[in-house]
Each structure stands twice: as structure tokens, then as C-alpha cells.
């Protein structure tokens, strides 16, 4: 029995040593994190496919969404454990302290394969060329590019991440309006849209209650008026990853294709009369 306990103790010690090697607990002043394409991308695709079927904002009672969030956290953690990835735990790591919009922005960029530097005070995000374009500081994500414009998504996000994201819009896109559109919909430069499947789910969950739909979409109550319309487009023109430079990108916009309320988003060209189907939401 004593011998068995000794073996168990040795095994336990060995396991702990292995874990330390894979997930360093040494705090370092600066860490540059590089991501490489690995099998985790398959896991990410699985997560993304799950995420595409729901909006996490306000519908956490959905058990599937809870599972997907947990799974996504698992994948993010695994990415950080990969080869050539340095992780700072404890003092010196700001990533572990992020909450709210900043956390969501970081998750978007992490899943998109964006390189970042966490110095414990701020997290700086780099383009593929190594130029800083944004940072998280004091709980906010800030554009730091000198010209005041967000870089093109292709300059900092993995091509595979972008194509996977856009594939979630293959079943058509939807835009919801507080008004009854009669002509072109959206500003001339294009408009944000969400996947039709996600719009269907949110509308179904709202159960005929406009206020509940506003909550699910992360809007203020009253934003959609009393009789909102939905615009469905089966074959949108110019489907693309949002850049953040659009007229529709407000101060709450975060990069990576998911809103701060975790709704999937893309942009399309201005929606022309004849290319869409219009009906009231409820």
C-alpha cells in the first residue's frame, strides 16, 4: 500500500512538472505572443459554427450558448499553450484581468490570430507587418494608428479566420430597421448586417416583444420603435469583414466580426431596391 502511494505521489509530481512547462507561471515584463496554425483551428471552427447559431448577449440561459462559451474559453486557453506561445500568469498579465467589451475585443483578435504584446499595463495589437494598430488600456480598446483609421482586416486577421467568419453569412443576411424602408437601404458606403439564421433565432427568442429584441441586440429600449422591419437579402453584394471605418461603426465598435454584445456582423454594399425582401419583424 505504501509503495502504491509512493508511485501515485511520483506520478502526481511528474504531472505537475509537465504542466509547469506547458503553461509557465513565471511573470515577465514583456511578452510577444505569436500564433501558428495548428489543429486548434479545427476546434475554433467548431466553436465558430456553434457561435453562429446564437447571440450570447442576453441569452445566456440558452444551455447551448453556455457550452459554446466554455468550449471557446478552452480553445483560447489551448491556443495560448501552443508551441512558441509565451503566457504570463499573475503579475504582468493584463489579459487575465480583462472584462466586458475589452475582453470581447481581445477574444475576437485572439481567435483571429492577431499578434499582441501584454506588458501588464496595456495590450498592444500588431498587424501582420508588426506595426501596432490598437491597444487595450484602462479597460478600453483604442485605435492607435496614426492616421486615425482602422487597418484593413486582412492586414491583421488570419485569411482563414476571415473566410470562416464570412461563410456564416452564406444563408443570407438581415438588417433590422426602425422605419419602413422604401428605397435603397443603408448609407451609400454600405451597411452592417447579421446572418439571417441569427436574426431568425433572435426574433424567435424575442417572442413578439420589441423591447426583448432590443435587449438581445444590445440596443437601448425604444431604439427599434414600435413596429420594426426586417430586410432579408439572399445574395448580398460586397459581403466583407467590417473595417471599423464605416459610417455605421460607432464608438463601441470592436474589430473581429463580432459586436461587443457578441452578435456576428459583416458589411455589405448599400442594399438596392429589388434586391431585398421586406416585412415587419413581428
Amino acid at each position: 500500500m505504501k509503495f502504491l502511494l509512493q508511485i501515485l505521489f511520483l506520478l502526481f509530481t511528474w504531472f505537475n512538472l509537465s504542466a509547469t512547462t506547458a503553461f509557465s507561471k513565471v511573470a515577465l515584463p514583456n511578452q510577444t505572443v505569436f500564433f501558428h496554425k495548428t489543429t486548434n483551428q479545427n476546434q475554433e471552427s467548431e466553436v465558430k459554427n456553434g457561435v453562429s447559431n446564437f447571440a450570447r448577449s442576453g441569452i445566456l440561459e440558452n444551455s447551448f450558448s453556455q457550452k459554446a462559451v466554455l468550449w471557446e474559453s478552452f480553445v483560447l486557453e489551448n491556443r495560448a499553450r501552443e508551441e512558441n506561445v509565451n503566457v504570463v500568469s499573475g503579475a504582468g498579465s493584463l489579459v487575465s484581468k480583462l472584462t466586458g467589451i475589452a475582453k470581447n475585443a481581445h477574444e475576437n483578435l485572439l481567435l483571429g490570430g492577431v499578434k499582441f504584446i501584454d506588458d501588464g499595463v496595456s495590450i498592444k495589437y500588431l498587424t501582420k507587418n508588426g506595426a501596432e494598430f490598437a491597444k487595450i488600456e484602462n479597460g478600453k480598446i483604442l485605435l492607435t494608428k496614426a492616421d486615425g483609421k482602422w487597418p484593413l482586416p486582412s492586414e491583421y486577421l488570419d485569411a482563414n479566420y476571415i473566410s470562416t467568419h464570412l461563410s456564416k453569412f452564406d444563408g443570407g443576411v438581415t438588417k433590422i430597421t426602425s422605419y419602413n424602408p422604401t428605397g435603397s437601404v443603408g448609407p451609400p458606403g454600405g451597411t452592417f448586417v447579421l446572418p439571417k439564421s441569427q436574426a431568425d433565432l433572435l426574433i424567435q427568442q424575442a417572442g413578439g416583444d420589441v423591447n426583448k429584441l432590443e435587449d438581445l441586440l444590445g440596443l437601448k429600449r425604444g431604439d427599434l420603435g414600435t413596429n420594426p422591419f426586417r430586410i432579408d437579402i439572399n445574395n448580398p453584394s460586397g459581403l466583407r469583414m467590417p473595417s471599423g471605418n464605416e459610417a455605421g461603426a460607432n464608438e463601441f465598435w470592436i474589430p473581429g466580426g463580432k459586436t461587443s454584445g457578441r452578435i456576428l456582423e459583416a458589411t455589405v454594399d448599400q442594399i438596392q431596391l429589388g434586391s431585398y425582401v421586406k416585412k415587419t419583424v413581428f
Binding site: 438581415t174 448609407p187 458606403g189 452592417f192 464605416e246 455605421g248
Partner: protein
């Protein structure tokens, strides 16, 4: 008193109390109509094409936060 000067490229240009405004969809997934005050020169530019109208909108947004119409 409000007069519609033009309605083109998904934008409406109106005159109200001797001031010009461009009204447009805010461009978000869930949207409503907003407006920005513009100059006469910008109004003329916005008549020309959708691209120019968009430039006018972006420039107006840099000057002032748009206000909601509908």
C-alpha cells in the same frame, strides 16, 4: 418648416430653418435614420454620386455626432 431638397443614393437632403441637413440610415445591423448638418457645397457634392454622398456623411460625422430623426 422642412423642405426636401433631394432624395438620392439612399440619402435625403433637407432644409430646415435655413440650415441644410443630410439624412441617412445609420448603417448598423439594427438601424434608424440619423442626420448631420452640412454646408451648401457639401449638399451640392452629395447630389453627384453615392461615393460623394458617402464622403459628405463621413466628413459631417467627424465634425459633429449625428442626431436621430426616426
Amino acid at each position: 418648416m422642412e423642405t426636401v431638397i433631394s432624395e438620392k443614393f439612399g440619402c435625403k437632403i433637407i432644409e430646415r430653418n435655413s440650415k441644410l441637413f443630410i439624412q441617412y440610415d445609420n448603417g448598423q445591423s439594427a438601424s434608424w435614420i440619423i442626420e448631420n448638418e452640412i454646408t451648401k457645397e457639401e449638399a451640392e457634392k452629395a447630389f453627384i454620386s453615392g461615393d460623394f454622398a458617402y464622403e459628405v456623411i463621413l466628413a459631417a460625422q467627424k465634425r459633429n455626432k449625428p442626431t436621430r430623426v426616426i
